[in-house]
Each structure stands twice: as C-alpha cells, then as structure tokens.
Amino acid sequence: MLFSSLSFLFAFLPILLILYYLAKDKYKNYILLIASLIFYAWGEPKYVLLMIISIVINYYIAILIDKKKKNKKQKNVLLIVAVIINVGALFFFKYLDFAINNINLAFNFNLEKTNLSLPIGISFYTFQILSYVIDVYRNKVKVQKNILNLGTYITLFPQLIAGPIVRYSDIEKQLTHRVHNVEKISSGFRRFMLGFCKKVLIANNVAIIADTVFNNPGEELLNGWVVVFALLAYSLQIYYDFSGYSDMAIGLGRIFGFSFDENFNYPYSALSISDFWKRWHISLTTWFRDYVYIPLGGNRCSKIKWARNFFVVWLLTGLWHGASWNYVFWGLFYAIILLLEKQFFGKYLKKAPKVISWLITFGIINVGWLLFRINGISDLKIVLHSVFHANITLSDYLAAHYYLIPNMIFVVLGLLFMFPLFMHFVRKIRRTSFGKIVVDCIVVGTFIVAIFAIISGSYNPFIYFRF
C-alpha cells in the first residue's frame, strides 16, 4: 500500500488510528504489528510470509548471539549466518537475475532467469534487520525477547517500504515506552501532509516531464535545453518523491508515538558533494558508514586502503539502489568525485563564492542523476548527442508537448522549496497563534488539492458512451 493512495488515506489510516488510540498501551504494538502486516500484504500478499520468516529467523539468531556473548567464535559464526541469510535473501530477489544476465553475456551461457518480482522494501527492511543483529552482536542494544516487539520494529509500516532506515538502537526504548500527545499527533499530521503534497503535487507532476524525455529518448526529437530541463525535473522528482515519502514516514511515526531521525536536510542547497551526502538519504549513508566503512577500517588506515574502502562503500551504495549497471556507475561516479573533492578541488569550492560552489555542486549532482535515470549506455549516448546537436527548436518542442506546460510550473515550485529559506519563512509566520492557524489552513488546503489530484488521476473517459 502506498501512503499516497486513497485506500491508505481513507480506509487504512483512519481505522488504524481509531483502533490504536482506543487500545490499552500494552496492546498498541500488537495492533501496529497486525496493521503493518496488512499494509505490506496489501501490495505484496505473497511476500508477507517471507518477511514473517525473516523476523522469526533473526529473532532466534539474535537470542543465540546474546546467549553466546562470551563465546566469540560461536558469536561470530552466528553473525555470519545472519548476514548470509539476510544478504542472501536480498541477493536472491534483487541481484540474482542481474548476475545471471551478466554471466550469460560474459560467458555466452544461457542460464535461465528467475523473473521473480522484487519484494517491496526488501532493501530497507534487510538493512534494519542487519542493524539489529549486528548491534546485538556488538552489545550496543539489548536483545529483544518479545518476538512481537521485534516484529513491530521490523514491519513498522511508516518506514517499511521506503525508509528511512530506522535502527533498532534508535527506537529500542520507544518500542515499549513512547509518548502520545495531541502536540505530537498534530505535528505528525503536519509533517505527513507536507510529505504527501511533496510527493503528489511536485514529484508526480515533474516526473511526467522527465519520463517524456528519458523513457524513450530515441523517439523524441530533443533539444539540448530540453534535456537539461528534463534532467532538472528528474532531480526534483527524485528529491520530492523520496523526501516526501520520508516526511510521511516521520510524520506517521510521530502520530503513533515514535521519533525517527531526519533523512533529508535540504540536500540541493549543499555547497560541496560531501556536504550533499551529509544531507541526502542520511539513514543510508550513516548505515554504510557504521556497518561497512568503519568496520573496513574507515580512513584510519593507509591511503590505498582508504581509497579501497571508499570504493567498496560507494559500489555498494550504487548497487543498493538497484540491480543495474547504471547504479554501479552512479556509485562509482560519486566515489571518484568525492575522492577528487577531498584531495583536490574541495578547498577551491570552500573558497569560491557560495553561488559558484552551489552551481558546481548542483551541476555535478544532476550529472549523477543522469547516470541514475538513464536506461543503459545507448540511451545515454542519444541524450548526450541531443544536448550538443539540437535538431528541433525549443518552441517546436514546447508545442509538441504543450500538455507539459502546467507541469513546468511545478519545476519552478520545486526549485523554490528546495532551499531552507521557504521553511524559515513559514517558521517565522508560525510564531504567533494566528500564524499557526493560517499555516495549518494552507497545509490542509494544499493536502486537499493533492487528494483531488489523486482522484483526478482516475479520470478515464470512454470515447463512445451510451445514454
């Protein structure tokens, strides 16, 4: 189920809220667990079993690790087993076909692909499970002896399918003791509505521009500016889509008494690439830092080892986003850029006027998104060729895509809202009671418009109709 669906808004959420707040505290987690399983099963009825099996296996492995606290060898074996099971499941569902495809290509084999659909959110919940087991292994958290509480953590629907990757250590206490109050619920709703509007109004609308150009670049007579604009639209799409989802998750977490860490912090206002990665998908970058980069030795080692660690982390970051070579290239692109920034041009970025640093950073990020978005090298060639060999005027292109012009307004809005200035202004208005009410009315009004957008998405006229 998606947060930006009517089923979620007008069926799942209201029913759950009523049941949750009517229930006694000791039953709240059970209600959340059942609701989360229904939420997951709504989109993936078959794979809900996979998740339950995963919870049970990891529950027992963590208990065994805790029992074998003093036996390092056995503890290590158990951890390796847990990593193999979790990463193995992720590999099987997400990367096996990619591997088969490449083996077939490289060795001229004819191995059959599994063609399995990817269980929704598997990358997110695998990392959450791993963080729990590893933290139990490291004695950072107490082992969870109540399987239902562990199940609630892993399946917790707000962050189940698109993050943020919430670590067990962050909500360990909240699983048994969390605060519910009107202020938290209303601030949760505010955040949820903000994310909902980001996703439905901005991301969905700018996506149409990006998709028109990038889905079939060969069929489009492109103009260089059009490609640049579409790339900008895609950069905004991915940001508002993902950060919108994180906002909704954080907001829903608050509504149900949880506090999740921030996942985005105005990443497109970054003045360097390392700054960008401190602001973008924070839960993933910190996960890789704590569970891969530092265990590999981090930067406290020789330069060659450090570079190796760096490349490993960014290769995995790329692969985490998808089983395709363009994600690998995207990850390696950032590894190279970050290495160059740290070693060479970082100091110049710092000294340069902020506008210049921002332009360079934002430009590099956009090039990165081009690698991320494009479907294969051949499409990349077509797009790049179009940038430098315009064969259609901009006005001809706009006329042929006249229906996209209203969507372009959302690119402008997206650009405006990607800087902290707008929220700073909102915070200023919210200092008074009247200001708070005005802002809330605007937020609810925009939320209603976003609901209308979803309803209008079902407009599907029939050409001949009989009355």
């Binding site: 069926a11 109050n181 009107v182 006249y402």
Partner: protein
C-alpha cells in the same frame, strides 16, 4: 496521553477529521454507477475474498472505487483538471500556436489544438507498417469471400490523415483501399484538402462529422451508388452547446459549439435494433426537448442514434434492393437517411456484433440469409485498420 493541549493543535486535528469524514461518507453513501462526464461505468466497492486479495484485484478495485465514488468525484475530476490545464501564468498558447499543433494530454490518441483555433482534433499520424498490413489482410480476406456482390466503400478521413501545418496528406488510405479492394464498384472519401475545409465538415471538439460533413457523405454515397441523394429541409438547433469526445478525452471544455443538425423528411419505416423493434434516431425527442442536457452529453449519439451491433431499417419497398451497411459510428448520422432508397437496409457495426449476438458475424451467411443485393462500407481510418471493426468479413 498528556493533557496539555493547545487550541492550534486541536484545530488542525479537527480539520483533518473533517477530511477523513469525507472518506467515511464515501463508503456509506449510495454508490453511483455511471459517470456522465467520462461516459463509463464507475467502480463500486466489492466484497472481500481471499482470492481477490491475493491476486490484488480487491485492492485495485478499492482504490478505483474510492476515486470514483468519492463525494463530488465527478466535479473534482472536471474542475481539478480544468484548473490544472490553466495553470500557465503567461499566455503560452498564443505565442506557440501559429501554424502549429499544440499537443494536449489525452489517455488514448494524440489530440491537439491547431493554428490558434478552437478545434480539438487528432494529430497527424503516419500509417505504420503494422497497421498497413492489417488493412491489407482485412481486405484480402474480404476479397476471397465476396466476389459477386456490388460493393461500395466510403472513407470518412479524419484529421489524423492530414498534416495541416504542411498542408500534406499523411496517409493515402484511399489509394491503399483502391489497390486492395479488387471487386468494388465505387470507392470514395470525404474530400477536404485544407484546414478550412476540414473545419467545415467536422465538429470543433468531436471526432465525428458535423451536419454538413455527414450530408456531404450522403450526397457522395448516393452519387457513388447511382441513387438520388435525399434532400434536407435546412438547419435546426436547440442551441445546446456540444462538447464532443475530443473535449472529454482531453478534459478540455474551453471550446464548444452550438449543436446543429439537418432536418430530414424521413419516410415511415420500421426499425429493428438488435432484433427488437424500436426507434433509432432521437430527432423527435430532441426537437421537443425531451432530454436532460448536461455538459458532456454526447449529442451526436443522442440525436442521430447510438452504436449497435445491428440496426435494420425496413422501408418496405420490395422492388428495391436490400442494402448491407458495415460502418462505424460515422454511419450513425446517415444510415437511416441512405436507407430510404432501399427496401431493407441492414446496418452492422462489427465492433459490437459479436458482443450483442454471442456469435461471430459471418458475411456470406448474412448476405444469403437477408438477400443482400449491395454492400456499403462507411469507415473512418481507425476502423480500417482495426481488427474488431472488420471481424467476420472473411467468412
């Protein structure tokens, strides 16, 4: 739960509760079955079953039903899309439209505004190899079956065949049909060579021909078949604004026109729709205002008659021929008028025949059974290359 609450937070929660209440009302209110604006059956809430949940159809249906049954859904869809398409702060249209197609959003075929005009029309579409092969295949099968009967073909070429920007015909359907249909006694098309001529024959926002275009069709067909063209008594109108299929498909209700039609003296006859006696056209009801007008009303279908698998017009003139017309919806406006020159006219729309009668149309059997003397095709480009609109002609 803490008891420290402030007014602003309660106010927000109250607003959200109101929003959720709309969802609640949606589930308990009486369900609407048909959308007038969209002209389709609306999704309704279905009962839960494990099978439907596992295959995802329950979830999909629920999402669609919530959208369709939401309180005020019809107005929300119409107004949101209207507001959305008028978001541009600048007059972009006038700066781009000169001698150009401005492509509009549409869920099926490409539609556009051309040359700053208030027409919504199909964009030029090149006949691709696949479609050409279907046409050839359709006609080849027909040629094999039917070698004896006098056959006439009337092509109602729509805007997709012509590029008004370059004033060039994109597709020579007529040439293609002529080259393939070997036993035809007459093949013609509704001729237009400029945008102005197109405008004369077609509605501003509908893909069908208007009263002038359809009358031209009657004249052309009568000439081609060697009969006298029926006359009309002039234009009539109830001054209803007509927003046609192209307006509905693009959800663009900026343009419209007054719906006009020619008044014909149609002689007494019997009509059988899908085997049952009835009345095909609604001229009388329309003239007497016996209808509830609504913006997206399909006046073309209401006034002239709708799409049916089979309509028989029996003018009881045993000395004259029996005619079979195989047509799409373009025939709706003229079949009954053309039929006046024949004894019995059997009008068949192959898109609906099988669905209506539960069996495939078989041309040779149909000709034998109904003593058909002449066969007339009235087809628009989409029907020429559609397999549905030609199904059964090979047998």
């Amino acid at each position: 739960m803490s008891k420290n609450v402030n007014f602003e937070d309660c106010f927000l929660l109250m607003l959200i509760t109101l929003v959720f209440l709309f969802g609640f009302v949606t589930t308990i209110k009486k369900q609407d079955l048909v959308s007038k604006n969209e002209g389709r059956q609306l999704a309704t809430f279905s009962h839960f079953s494990l099978d439907s949940f596992v295959d995802g159809s329950f979830q999909n249906n629920m999402e669609q039903a919530l959208a369709d049954q939401f309180v005020g859904s019809e107005d929300i869809k119409a107004n949101y899309s209207y507001a959305f398409s008028h978001l541009s702060l600048f007059d972009v249209e006038s700066s781009l439209c000169k001698n150009r197609y401005l492509k509009l959003a549409s869920p099926d075929r490409s539609r556009a505004i051309f040359d700053c005009n208030d027409y919504i029309l199909y964009m030029p579409e090149q006949l691709d190899k696949e479609r050409k092969a279907i046409i050839e295949e359709n006609i080849k099968k027909y040629n094999q079956v039917n070698k004896k009967i006098d056959t006439y073909y009337y092509l109602v070429d729509d805007a997709s065949s012509f590029d008004f920007a370059s004033n060039e015909r994109k597709n020579d359907y007529l040439g293609l049909i002529r080259s393939q249909l070997t036993n035809a006694k007459g093949i013609r098309r509704l001729e237009y060579e400029t945008y102005e001529e197109y405008q004369d024959f077609y509605y501003k926002t509908d893909h069908h021909w208007n009263y002038k275009g359809s009358y031209q069709g009657i004249v052309d067909i009568s000439k081609m078949m060697g009969v006298e063209a029926p006359l009309h008594n002039g234009v009539k109108s109830n001054n209803d604004l007509f927003y046609g299929s192209n307006a509905r498909m693009t959800n663009n209700f900026d343009y419209s026109e007054v719906f006009n039609y020619y008044d014909y003296d149609i002689r007494q006859h019997s009509t059988f729709i899908n085997g049952k006696e009835g009345s095909y056209n609604n001229y009388y009801a329309y003239e007497n205002h016996n209808y509830d007008y609504f913006k997206a009303m399909n006046l073309y279908a209401f006034v002239y008659g709708n799409d049916f698998g089979e309509v028989v017009f029996d003018y009881n003139q045993p000395k004259k021929d029996n005619l079979l017309i195989i047509s799409d919806s373009f025939g709706n406006a003229i079949n009954e008028i053309i039929a006046q020159n024949y004894n019995k006219t059997f009008s068949v729309d192959l898109r609906y025949y099988e669905e209506t009668f539960g069996k495939e149309f078989q041309l040779s059997d149909y000709i034998k059974k109904n003593h058909i003397d002449k066969l007339l095709f009235i087809m628009s480009p989409i029907s020429i290359w559609s397999r549905d609109a030609n199904r059964g002609l090979e047998s």
